[in-house]
Subunit: 200 residues, 2 copies
């Protein structure tokens, strides 16, 4: 391992903890990303100085994130692994997985809860829940939509940034005058505090 590889691997180890994955798994992935050619489990274990079984677990985890490509050499029974795709590809996969793991369950929960008949006391909470639900639905829809675009198109949109609005105004089909009000008014704090009398 070169000095640079070492640094790269260690950094992603540390970052791993801030993401949902653990240090070793982060290191493993970084190591694969840094490797020009596929690596087998044994090599990874040796390079990172962790047990063989830990690598096995880690590979399973990375696989569940769809970040691995498995390679086979004819005449060799071992499996070789690569981090597939370029940075964009990786980013898309990560975003997709995180959406599925971190957002989707909440969406279902909200949907289910909102289906049920409303209790008197829950008006406020239900309003917030509906708000949340709508936002999440729109965000995930947007993402699914955008994800299907060509890489080059996406590239250009990204570069455009908020400049996209300027261009859109030219089409005339995109008015920028505010229309609908946000569903949930600020409504919190301020005067409302004075309503409290229960100050325990």
């Amino acid at each position: 391992m070169t000095e640079l590889t070492q640094r790269f691997v260690l950094h992603f180890g540390e970052m791993g903890s801030r993401w949902g994955i653990n240090r070793t798994v982060g290191q493993m992935y970084a190591y694969l990303v840094a490797s020009p050619s596929p690596r087998c489990a044994e090599e990874i274990a040796a390079a990172l100085q962790v047990s063989r079984s830990n690598v096995s677990m880690g590979l399973k985890e990375l696989d569940s994130w769809q970040l691995l490509k498995r390679n086979h050499v004819p005449g060799d029974r071992r499996e070789f692994f690569t981090a597939h795709g370029d940075a964009w590809d990786i980013f898309k996969r990560l975003a997709e997985q995180r959406l599925a793991r971190e957002i989707a369950p909440t969406l279902s929960m909200l949907r289910e809860a909102l289906m049920e008949p409303a209790a008197e006391d829950d008006v406020y909470l239900r309003r917030r829940m509906r708000d949340m639900h709508d936002l999440i639905e729109r965000l995930t829809g947007w993402f699914a939509d955008v994800q299907r675009l060509e890489r080059s198109t996406l590239d250009r949109l990204l570069t455009l940034g908020s400049g996209v609005v300027k261009l859109l105004e030219h089409t005339g089909r995109f008015s920028t005058t505010p229309t609908a009000k946000p569903r949930l008014e600020p409504a919190l704090g301020g005067t409302q505090i004075l309503e409290r009398h229960d100050g325990h």
Copy 2:
């Protein structure tokens, strides 16, 4: 706490673990979101059945995510807390914070490493690192840019989804013919495996 609040709180507790925050902090935030009026630390501790000091820690954490609003009632020395903003606002704050915590450090690391003179052996890794660096820089730039848009404009863009491209084609200033190739070719797997002679 109503039945619904209970469910809401417990759900965000569970999800908390999938996000970087812990269960209790997740619950605390959900509880505040669900509350129409501000709550003091004592109330939170009672509602969630955790220690007072745990709440103090949790509030500190939430505060560092800029998710809290502190309220004061005249003549009462206690502090009251609210989850401020609507779903959009919360989403933006979260995205911003996660960017700062999960992405920014990597960006610096990459930038620093790439500044240094390149070693022979590191050509491949440096290519990947530059690729990554450029992508991250563009993504964060895009986000910062878009974040500044009006809520209603953002709303409309979101609804438009990938339809934005269709509209843009009308302006003639947005060509969809591919131009630049991705910087990093796939280049992995396949034939390359045969180059290995060091068999483990």
